[in-house]
């Protein structure tokens, strides 16, 4: 039997709230610390305790981070999904199963590893047996695939940071699992690991925490939020780090408000922006739906405000613990009437940090609501990170007149008058006494006075359009990886970044064709996006939703002669994108159009 090294997927089926998440993170951390390229995906339910949960660990020397096509090692602990999980396995899968689950192993064609997990755990500590049983399977996996015991114990220490009792207990449970495997089981599967060079700068971080840190280094002054999965980690990360990073003379240089709902959170953000501060909120699609009216106010009254949307599956309550790119169109044209908004779209945890501070600069520069657009996959899973780059530019506070001299230097000043020709007017702050005006969501002239005049309204709306249009090439440029052939190009965005390389490899293997890729990092679209499309013969817009939302934006904005070569692959089932599934759809489209 040929060994399979560092190229397989482990699927662990447990129940929510049983402590399995700690065990799974220990497994992930150990593999990572051995230098093996690894990713973990938590497929958890919208529930606190009892419903099924799966954790998928992908090991890949190629660096592939998407969930793989199949499971190679299955851990069965949860009776509730036992039969279905077992039935779905390919022949030859290694199955580590808890013999104390009172469930049967009825497959002859899999490699069976029965382990009395609960009994072993009970021997250690009867009260905590259910929890410790999870670490027993980690020990069994460690022995089966060849994990380093010292690295494993270090990962346990890290997971239970400082809690000596827990560290001892869990280390012992892992050791017992390992011993049981060595003494009672014979390895009959090919899956094994080899340590690789450990990159000494790498660490794991969730996208949400990276956004949180980026926001703090962006100088966030007011956070208002209402808890919602999968975005709560952004606010909680900020709340966790602020006292350490932003205390001055023993006092807070920020305010955090847990709002009564998302509407109030949006109102607080806009109030703080109006007052001259950097305010933000973090929410998910349902929250953005509730904030629509306020988003229009901030756009029309030109108030800086930052909104992070960590996308979950919609519409409605949808699948609250699954991932999607279904909110893009809503963000871009949020609120009633004609609107257009700036959207930053990170694809990596490093960018989550960078865009965390950049969104504030853009929002104050353009005096408009700015969105950060992440998703559950990027936000709530742990990703390898190679460090955060300190902001390369000082804060851009935009066109704010702080003194009467500054005001006097401007000829024909008006709060909403474009004196520089870029569509961006100057503003003054409450309390300054400089050109006090009544901000309003109603029609207003260039001085801010109420107006319903047709030419005043028309001119205002044209200026707002010019202002946002002018942002295009000042927003993060797309990242391109271009082949000399310039035949097929794939345009994608956000967390698809973590699957694109594998899709690319599958396409090349299957068709022999080399494809270029472009990752969009902001809306409105950078001019490089159109240039890339112009250079390629066939372009696929690849996204994780049903309605091809980016494709729709491109169709609406780009010259009609370009549209015939632009095609869509949009698919969403709640799961993080699996490479083969998207690659096959791309190949179908290419075949249909004869590319």
């Amino acid at each position: 039997m040929d060994r399979v090294v560092n190229d397989f997927t482990i699927n662990i089926a447990t129940a929510n709230g049983t402590g399995s998440q700690s065990a799974n993170l220990i497994l992930l951390q150990t593999l990572f610390d051995m230098g093996i390229p690894v990713s973990g995906k938590n497929m958890f339910p919208s529930n606190i305790s009892g419903l099924p949960t799966w954790y998928i660990v992908r090991l890949s020397d190629n660096g592939y981070q998407a969930p793989g096509d199949r499971t190679h090692i299955q851990v069965l602990v949860n009776p509730a999904t036992w039969d279905e999980d077992l039935a779905g396995l390919e022949p030859g899968t290694a199955v580590i199963w808890n013999t104390d689950s009172k469930m049967e192993m009825n497959r002859e064609d899999v490699i069976s590893y029965p382990v009395p997990m609960t009994k072993i755990a009970r021997g250690l500590n009867p009260k905590l047996a259910r929890m410790i049983a999870n670490v027993v399977y980690v020990g069994v996996i460690a022995e089966l695939i060849g994990m380093d015991q010292a690295v494993l114990e270090a990962a346990i220490s890290k997971q239970f940071g400082g809690k000596e009792k827990a560290i001892l207990l869990n280390s012992e449970a892992a050791r017992l699992g390992r011993e049981y495997c060595a003494n009672e089981l014979t390895k009959r599967d090919p899956y094994t690991i080899e340590a690789r060079d450990v990159s000494d700068d790498g660490f794991f971080v969730e996208g949400n925490e990276a956004v949180a840190l980026g926001s703090i280094f962006g100088g966030v002054q007011m956070l208002a939020w209402y808890p919602i999965t999968p975005s709560s980690g952004v606010a909680e990360g900020i709340i966790d780090w602020l006292p350490k990073l932003r205390t001055h003379e023993g006092k807070a240089t920020y305010a955090v408000l847990q709002a009564e709902d998302e509407l109030a959170a949006a109102g607080m953000v806009i109030g703080s922006g109006w007052a001259g501060a950097r305010g933000m909120t973090a929410t998910s699609g349902p929250g953005i739906s509730l904030m629509q009216e306020f988003i229009g106010l901030a756009y029309f009254a030109e108030v800086p405000s930052v909104f992070w949307d960590v996308n979950r599956v919609g519409p409605s309550t949808g699948l609250p613990t699954r991932t999607q790119q279904g909110d893009l169109a809503m963000l871009y044209e949020g609120s009633h009437g004609d609107t257009q908004h700036i959207v930053f779209i990170p694809g990596t945890v490093e960018e989550c940090f960078e865009f965390g501070w950049r969104v504030f600069d853009a929002s104050e520069r353009y005096q408009t609501p700015v969105f950060g657009f992440s998703d559950l996959d990027l936000g709530m899973n742990r990703w390898e990170c190679h460090g955060f780059e300190y902001p390369s530019e000082p804060m851009d506070r935009g066109k704010v007149l702080l003194t009467q001299e500054q005001m006097d230097a401007i000829e024909n000043y008006g709060r909403y008058r474009d004196v520089d020709g870029d569509g961006i007017p100057y503003r003054t702050l409450p309390g300054s006494g400089i050109d006090p005006i009544l901000y309003r969501g109603t029609g207003h002239d260039e001085d801010g006075a109420y107006s319903e005049k047709p030419d005043v309204y028309y001119k205002l709306m044209q200026r707002l359009k010019q202002k946002i249009d002018g942002a295009r090439d000042n927003l993060p440029a797309p990242i391109m990886r271009e082949e000399v052939e310039q035949d097929i190009g794939i345009v994608f965005y956000g967390s698809m970044e973590n699957t694109i390389e594998e899709i690319d490899d599958i396409l090349e293997t299957a068709t022999g064709k080399k494809v270029s890729t472009l990752r969009v990092r902001a809306l409105p679209l950078h001019s490089e996006v159109q240039a890339f499309i112009e250079r390629h013969n066939t372009v696929i817009i690849l996204e994780i939703n049903r309605d091809a939302q980016l494709h729709g934006i491109i169709r609406k904005e780009y010259p009609v002669e370009l549209l015939s070569k632009i095609h869509s692959v949009a698919y969403s089932d709640g799961m993080p994108p699996r490479a083969r599934l998207y690659a096959e759809r791309i190949m179908e489209v290419l075949k249909e159009v004869g590319a």
């Binding site: 700068d201 660490f203 794991f204 971080v205 703090i216 280094f217 962006g218 100088g219 002054q221 007011m222 208002a224 990073l245 932003r246 001055h248 006092k251 807070a252 240089t253 920020y254 305010a255 408000l257 709002a259 009564e260 709902d261 509407l263 109030a264 959170a265 949006a266 109102g267 607080m268 806009i270 109030g271 703080s272 922006g273 109006w274 007052a275 001259g276 501060a277 950097r278 305010g279 009216e293 306020f294 106010l297 990170c385 460090g387 955060f388 300190y390 902001p391 804060m395 409450p430 309390g431 300054s432 006494g433 006090p436 005006i437 009544l438 901000y439 309003r440 969501g441 109603t442 109420y450």
Partner: protein
């Protein structure tokens, strides 16, 4: 030289003329109670000697919420969205605690679409004045009943209201609001004293002002018409205000019983007993007064409830003494060394 004497312009304690506190021309119906309130706001701010540019005028949507355009032309303001003025004010307040936040709302704004935000602003004790210009009808949409319309009251057109009203003062008392008062747009003296005191108070000051809608709800069958409210008041006390810059000892001592309340900025609210004393620190007494007046189809007037010791939101947040909005980049953006520490913590 003319013989005509030059009329001296009257200045307030900070040497500002009253003109510094006025605003644009009102577009409300002639005789609207809201315009009377606007003029009381102008007087109160001027007489109190508040710097006009240190006031922030906040409002939602509706007839009442249009009024910030008609007063305090030297103050920044924000006419926000329907019922959401409290959250916008809260966000502004925490980043700039040194401004005086003067919110104006209506009964549509406060008792219906925005009742949740009002409740939570009270709960947080946001340091602001919150004036409800309460007329029992939606004026801008031409006279539908609002949620504060009294049972048995009939507006100019349509049927008698049979739906239980929401009493915003009773609600505020129950929520522990730190300053709850009711007044009448026609009672200029009382309203002026109450608004001045609310400005001097630190915390959420709710003032429910009955302000008749002359167009849709000023007929004889209405319990919120000028005539009815004028004749059917249950006055809790007579309200006076002595600013912190006028020595208290120089003010004439009332003949009867009275109670002085020292406000946050050192000013005094003087409550003179009319028949029997209303205990403003007793929430049950406040509710009892409201219910008693209700039963008699009367409107309670005066300061219902007061708690000067309740910490305001800005106190709870342990904010830096300098308003957050005035902090500079070197304070707001942590250093590169701090980022190194953060990353090191992840790596360890």
């Amino acid at each position: 030289m003319s013989d005509k004497p030059v009329k001296a312009i009257k200045l307030n304690v900070i040497n500002e003329p009253k003109d510094s506190y006025t605003g644009g021309k009102s577009s409300l119906c002639p005789g609207c109670g809201h315009d009377q309130i606007s003029s009381v706001i102008v007087n109160s701010a001027w007489e109190n000697g508040v710097k006009p540019h240190r006031i922030a005028k906040m409002s939602g949507i509706g007839c009442s919420s249009k009024t910030p355009a008609y007063y305090l032309g030297q103050s920044h303001g924000f006419n926000t969205v329907h019922g959401r003025m409290p959250s916008v004010t809260t966000g502004a307040n925490v980043v700039n605690k040194d401004l005086t936040y003067l919110g104006v709302s209506g009964d549509g704004d406060s008792a219906s679409i925005g009742i949740g935000q009002l409740i939570h602003a009270i709960r947080r004790n946001v340091n602001m004045v919150y004036i409800i210009e309460n007329n029992g009808v939606y004026g801008l949409t031409k006279g539908q009943y609002s949620a504060t319309a009294d049972i048995g009251s009939k507006k100019k057109k349509g049927v008698t209201n049979e739906t239980q009203p929401i009493d915003l003062c009773a609600m505020a008392v129950n929520l522990g609001c730190s300053f709850v008062a009711r007044s009448f747009s026609g009672s200029k003296k009382q309203l002026t004293a109450i608004i001045k005191a609310a400005i001097s108070h630190k915390g959420f000051a709710l003032i429910d002002v009955i302000s008749p809608c002359v167009t849709f709800n000023n007929n004889d069958e209405s319990l919120r018409s000028y005539g009815y409210v004028k004749d059917n008041q249950a006055e809790l006390h007579s309200v006076g205000y002595i600013p912190h810059f006028s020595p208290l000892e120089q003010v004439e001592v009332p003949a009867g019983a009275y109670r002085d309340i020292t406000l946050h900025d050192g000013s005094t609210m003087r409550l003179e007993t009319i028949s029997e004393e209303h205990d403003i620190t007793d929430a049950v007494a406040a509710l009892s007064a409201l219910h008693k007046a209700d039963a008699e189809k009367k409107h309670v007037m005066g300061l219902l409830y007061f708690d000067g010791d309740k910490p305001a939101l800005e106190d709870d947040l342990d904010l830096h003494d300098t308003p957050i909005v005035e902090l500079s980049e070197d304070v707001l953006r942590p250093s590169a060394a701090q980022l190194d520490d953060v990353v090191a913590a992840f790596r360890s």
